[in-house]
Subunit: 251 residues, 2 copies
DNA sequence: ACAAAAGTGTTCGATGTACACCCATGC
DNA sequence: GCATGGGTGTACATCGAACACTTTTGT
């Protein structure tokens, strides 16, 4: 019996017209690796690998992310543990239990993400055939992401240090797949004091220059569930299963 | 490296005055087992055990539940996978990754739950010292339960086939730890058509007899995330007895 | 008739949504 | 000035909390 750790990695990419609509609007992309051995040889799959004996689960997820994208995740959370008996074809020599994480990577840096023969980025709207049930896993990760963006402060994980409200709104729109009212979005964000204005503005626009904001680090960066690190927060509402890494215990 | 599966089992118990307030109000209780070997020998811990080679994760959780309470869970969902290196004392011979489930058992039947020298039920408000970080795990499970009862139809997992609105409200109150307005609760429940009136009423009351309701099986039993839906649904009793687990896949 | 809980109606504030409108800048 | 997106104001529907009130039974 083997424990593997895989990660669904999301980044936001603009342009790259390929999807159905408005090519200017950014969308969700994720890197997949080509399997180089059976089962499912040649098919695309989530990056991952066996858990090392001296390695935390989360560290293993970060390692696979590093190995494929060469980037640091700005957000990392456990998704689910998959362990039914039928996950691999009968030909498989040993049973595998996969603990899957999902991660967000910074949009700016994602542009220099590694892309090789066996590592390729795909639009979340246009995925190839995947090995195992990885399509289901990605579907689940997408659901979790969309759910969580509505109540947790994770959208900024796609952006740099400073950003305009329009950029933040674009992130939300890309994740949710629909447009949002700029006026109402502004008020909702301002209502929580999750962001704080830097004094600066964008320059070089052909219109009124927008203010630049920064995330308010004083506030808990994101609701990762009651166990997130040592301090526990009272979450407003958890859309579903949630939380990142609670400490641990054996049993 | 070993994979273990543990389960946080919740039941609702009335009376048993022991807590702080109103002894008539039911509260959350859960069974713990006494460890009979190091580490933490003699301390209370979550029921669980090693995952068998030919056993699904969910089946393993159900098995531990069966072993301790001798009851079938009316709800079973994966909670989290715990796997940090420091979960067991250094003395431990091997590293353990625990995949923890949480379950709800029917309140009526829970009264005949097994209680032995090494299996004891505790009030969730009054837990003993626990082995490992099981206190944190239980805290997390409680948080998840309280969170989920507000948007998913899980409360009925504590009740029998038919029930009054007052009973359903009591379940919610016990989980949330506060009283709810009967009038508003009625409307909220009736708004979703999650329950359907049986023609019957309770008899033998000394006041106006309340209607008996039954859960509407036609509706998705519970929000288990996007994967619960796509996959199979248990045709059994009222449908709430499944788990949250997405099917699975390897990698 | 009375007590007790079932069940109904109404008001109020918070929140989300739609949309009209003004503001500031580059051209 | 004009176009464009930044930013503000406002009206309306929805939803949950609070609470007064009526109904129905057993005793």
């Amino acid at each position: 019996m083997v424990i593997a750790v895989s990660t669904v990695i999301f980044a936001l990419r603009s342009g790259e017209a390929e999807s159905d609509h408005d090519p200017a609007r950014p969308g969700l992309w994720l890197p997949l690796v080509r399997r180089i051995r059976p089962p499912f040889e040649g098919q695309w799959a989530l990056p991952g690998g066996p858990l090392r004996r001296d390695e935390d689960l989360e560290a293993a997820a970060a390692r696979t992310l590093q190995a494929t994208t060469a980037l640091e995740p700005s957000y990392l959370e456990q998704l689910y543990a998959f362990g039914t008996l039928d996950r691999a074809p009968a030909s498989a020599s040993e049973r595998v239990v996969s603990i899957v994480y999902w991660a967000l990577v910074d949009s700016e840096e994602a542009t220099r993400a590694a892309e090789t023969e066996n590592v390729h980025w795909f639009s979340a709207d246009d995925l190839p055939d995947l090995a195992f049930d990885h399509d289901v896993i990605i579907e689940y990760a997408l659901w979790r992401l969309r759910n969580k963006v509505e109540y947790a402060r994770i959208a900024h994980a796609f952006l740099g240090d400073t950003f305009t409200l329009a950029q933040l709104r674009e992130v939300h729109e890309a994740i949710l797949g629909r447009t949002l009212d700029p006026a109402n979005f502004r008020r909702q964000i301002e209502a929580g004091n999750t962001i704080v204005p830097t004094g600066k503005r964008v320059t070089g626009t052909s219109y009124r220059p927008p203010k630049l904001y920064r995330y308010n680090q004083a506030i808990e960066p994101v609701d990762r569930g009651p166990l997130g690190s040592s301090a526990r927060r009272r979450p407003s509402s958890d859309g579903a299963e949630a939380s990142a890494g609670p400490p641990d215990s054996a049993g």
